[in-house]
Amino acid sequence: MLEFIIYKSIICTIIFVVSLGIAAYSTWWERKFAGLLQDRWGPSRAGIWGLLQPLADGGKMLFKEEIIPNVSNKFLFVLAPALFIVTAIMAGVLIPWGPSVKIGETFYALQVSDINVGVIFLLGVTSIGVYGIMIGGWASNNKYSLLGAIRASAQMISYELAMGIALIALIITAGGTLSFSEIVAAQDKGVANIVWQPLGFIIFFICALAETNRAPFDLAECETELVGGYHTEYSAFKLGLFLFAEYINMFVSSAVMAGFYFGGYNFPFAHELYQAMGLQEGSWIISLIGFGAYFTKTLIFISVFMWIRWTIPRFRYDQLMNLGWKSLLPLSLLNLLITVVVEYFRGNINL
C-alpha cells in the first residue's frame, strides 16, 4: 500500500510540475513563434532567447495590484479562476505518458489514473472547465465579461456535441474501450487511429480548438469587441491563473489528440527498434523513448495550435454557430456512419 502511495505521489508531482512548466513555456513559445511567423525575433531580453520570460511574466502577475470590484460577487469571483485551473489540470491525469516500467515484479504505468471510462471523464472535466469562465464572467458584474462568458458557454455546448460524436467513432475503431491507456495501447499492434479516422480527427481538432478557446474560436476573449472578454475585471495572479489554465488546456488537448489519433507513445517500427537495442518489455529505456515520442507529438500539436492562431482571423459569432451546428454536427454523424460501415466490413463489429 505504501509503495502504491509513493508511486502515485511521484507520478502526480511529475505530471503536475510538467503541466505547469509546459504551460509556462507555452507562453514563451507562443510569443517566440508568433515573432518568427511575423518576421520578428520575439522575446529576446530575459535570458538567452528570452527563456526567462515566463519567470518574468509570472513575477509580474504575482506582484501586480490585485483588484476585486466592489460590485462583484466576491466568493464566486475568487472561485472562478481556481475552478478553471483545477479542471484544466484534472484532465491531465488520464494521459498515459509511456509504456509501463517494470520495477521488481510489478509494472508501473506512467499514468496518474487509468479510469475505465476515461473518455467520458475527459469530456466531463473539460465541460466543467467552462463553469470557471461562466462564473468568472458573471461574478465580475461587467457587461463585457458576461458577454464573453455567454459566448464561451454557447461555444462549448455547440462544439461538445460534435466532439463527442467524433469520439464515439474513435472508440468503435479502437475496439470499444473507453479507457485512454487501452486506446493508446490498441494502436501499438496496428496503425494509428488517424488512418481509419481522418475525418474524425479533423472534426476533433476543430472542436479542440473551440473547446480550448483558441483562435480562430477565441470569441470569449476577443479584445476588439469585449475588452478582455470574461477576464476583463481580473488582475494580478487571478488573471495569471486564467491565462495559465488556458495553456494547460491546450497542452492537455494536444496530448489527447496525440494519444487518440497519433498513437501516443507508439511510433512506426518501435518494436524493431527496441529489439535491435536488445531491450526487454518493461525496461525504463523503452518508457523513456515512448515518453519522448509522446511528448514530441504533443509539442508539435501545441505548435500547430499556435501556427493556426497566427494565421487565421477570428470567426464571427454567427459563423461560429453555423460551423458548429450546420457543418460539424452533420459531418460527425456522417463520420460515425462511415466508421460503423467500415468497421463492419473489417469484422470489428458483430451484429
Binding site: L36, W41, W310, T311, I312
Partner: protein
C-alpha cells in the same frame, strides 16, 4: 476607375464549394505564414547592435574645447538666435585673470543650457556658431524619468578633456568655406529677413 493594376473588383457572387469549406484557403494561409519562418528579419538588436549612422547624424550637442583644452564658446548668442525651437539659454561672464587656460576669449558662457525636450535637432546652432564651438554628435539623447533632467547644462554639454570627440567629418571643406565667408552668410540672410520685416 482603375488606379493600379493590382486592384481587384469586389463582387458578391456565390462562394464556390472550395471557398465554402475554408480548407484550401486555410492551408494556403498557413503555408504563407510558415514561409515567413525562414525569411530574413529586419530587426536590429538595438543596445548590442547599432545600425550605422550617417557621418553627419544630428544627435546630442557638444561644446568643443580647443587644442589647449580651453572652451571655444564666447557666449555670443548666435546659436540661441538661430534656434527655431528656442531651446538654448546662456549667461555670459567675463574671463578673470588666471583663467586663460579655461576660456579662449575674454567672454565666456557662465551657464549654457539646452532643453533637449524642446530641441528639434535641426543643426542650425552648429551652422550659426562663428567659433566652431557647438556641434551635434551621433550620440542619442538618453531617456530620463524627470522633465527637469532633460535640461542639459555645461556639465553634460562641454567636451571632456580626456574624452575628445571627433567632429572632423562634420567639417567638410564646403562647411568650413561657408563659415569663412565675410560677415557670415547665414547672418546676412538673417539681417535681410529682419530688414524685410521692418519694411
Amino acid at each position: 476607375m482603375q488606379l493600379t493594376k493590382r486592384s481587384i473588383v469586389v463582387s458578391n457572387k456565390e462562394q464556390s464549394f472550395a471557398e465554402k469549406i475554408y480548407f484550401p484557403a486555410i492551408i494556403k494561409g498557413m503555408a504563407i505564414t510558415f514561409s515567413h519562418l525562414f525569411k530574413k528579419r529586419p530587426t536590429i538588436m538595438y543596445p548590442e547592435v547599432k545600425r550605422q549612422y550617417s557621418d553627419v547624424y544630428r544627435g546630442q550637442h557638444i561644446l568643443k574645447l580647443d587644442e589647449n583644452g580651453a572652451e571655444r564658446c564666447t557666449s555670443c548668442g548666435m546659436c540661441a538666435v538661430a534656434c527655431p525651437a528656442e531651446a538654448i539659454i546662456m549667461e555670459s561672464a567675463e574671463r578673470k585673470k588666471g583663467e586663460e587656460h579655461l576660456y579662449r576669449e575674454e567672454k565666456y558662457a557662465k551657464t549654457y543650457e539646452i532643453n533637449m525636450l524642446r530641441c528639434i535637432f535641426c543643426g542650425l546652432c552648429e551652422e550659426a556658431c562663428p567659433k566652431e564651438a557647438i556641434f551635434l554628435t551621433d550620440k542619442i539623447v538618453d531617456a530620463e524619468y524627470e522633465r527637469d533632467t532633460f535640461i542639459y547644462g555645461k556639465d553634460k554639454l562641454v567636451e571632456k578633456i580626456d574624452k575628445r570627440i571627433d567632429v572632423t567629418k562634420r567639417q567638410t571643406p564646403e562647411v568650413l568655406e561657408f563659415k569663412k565667408l565675410p560677415g557670415l552668410k547665414h547672418n546676412e540672410l538673417y539681417q535681410k529677413k529682419l530688414n524685410k520685416e521692418k519694411h
